[in-house]
């Protein structure tokens, strides 16, 4: 049960939140200027690092606000939590990989916002 420090409500248990995948992935300025490959990148390709990862969370049963966090995907430790509008912290180094870094204008692909269902086996 992660403890997630909502920038508005303070630390709350993971069950109150909704995960939104990689942060800082803006909706393309002009989708029609993109090749199918580039559009596919926007839709389906997200960074997936082992280590610090800038990602989006929504405090879904609390204030319903989206915010960003840098979390270590190996240790699960939250390194930073910051509002949607703030730029990616430099602290994480290569944390956003080759994803486009926007000015707080972010967008998750369907992967990020897909609900976690049951394992299938």
């Amino acid at each position: 049960m992660l403890l997630i420090d909502c920038p508005h409500c303070g630390p709350r248990d993971e069950v109150e939140f909704h995960y939104g995948g990689q942060a800082h992935v803006p909706y393309p300025e002009d989708p029609y200027a993109l090749t199918d490959r580039e559009w596919a990148e926007f839709l389906f390709y997200r960074d997936n690092p082992r280590g610090p990862f800038a990602e989006r969370w929504q405090h879904s049963v609390g204030c319903r606000k989206w915010f960003n966090a840098v979390r270590d995907t190996a240790t699960y430790e939250f390194l930073e939590v910051y509002p949607m509008a703030a730029p990616a912290p430099s602290a994480g180094g290569g944390l956003t990989g080759n994803g486009p870094v926007g000015s707080g204008s972010t967008r998750s692909g369907p992967v990020g916002s897909g609900s976690a269902g049951s394992g299938s086996a």
Binding site: C9, G10, E16, C63
Partner: protein, 205 residues
């Protein structure tokens, strides 16, 4: 009046029967038909001050905070731009949101329309009241938020989960918690609470 049905309507008798008086008591009842307004605005903005003027109560400024009178009109912080006002001293009337909403649409010269939203939500959430020395213990069976008086003093309110149900939990008085689930969850919430209260009935017996 007889036309109205509150969300926990059918459960009143069960709630009364499940209630336990005296230490380690806990009682459950519904507060029916209280007017509730959903308010969307950013405190400090022109919209907010118009709303505050129209409401007659200021908007809380941070998580947990409530303003106003818990026994009459009060306002719960939900998010930096979302609030819920509740007046437990009255019964909702038609057009409940009208006057306050109108403040946003003010078309008098020099006023003008401002952003924001005010909506009548009186039927949207049930208001259940859990009272007594064991009220906190009952809620702790499903509430992830710290309810210790140091962390959750009188007047504190948050949106969280109780069991599987999202709701607002408001400590209106020392041993009194108001629970505001969406109306469709009222029946389940009542069942859940009655079940959680069973232990205290047993202890007394």
């Amino acid at each position: 009046m007889h036309l109205r049905r509150s969300p926990a309507h059918g459960a009143a008798a069960e709630m009364a029967a499940a209630s336990v008086a005296g230490p380690p008591g806990v009682m459950l009842r519904e507060i029916a038909f209280a007017p509730q307004l959903g308010v969307r605005t950013v405190p400090g903005s022109a919209s907010a001050s118009r709303i505050e003027r129209a409401l007659g109560v200021s908007l809380p400024s941070s998580v947990g905070e409530t303003t106003g009178d818990p026994d009459a009109l009060h306002c719960v912080w939900i998010s930096p731009d979302e609030f819920l006002t509740i007046d437990v001293s009255r019964t909702q009337e038609h057009g409940e949101a009208g006057a306050v909403a109108a403040a946003l649409d003010d078309d008098r010269p020099g006023a003008g329309r401002v952003p924001g939203q005010v909506v009548d939500l009186s039927g949207n959430r049930a208001i259940l009241e859990l009272t007594g020395p064991s009220a906190r213990a009952v809620l702790e069976k499903g509430c992830h938020v710290d309810l210790h008086p140091r962390a959750f003093p009188v007047g504190h309110a948050v949106s969280t989960l109780v069991g599987p149900v999202p709701m607002i939990v408001h400590r209106s008085h020392g041993e009194t918690f108001r629970l505001l689930p969406r109306s469709s969850f009222a029946q389940y919430t009542v069942r859940w609470l009655i079940d959680a209260m069973l232990e205290f009935r047993t202890i007394r017996a």
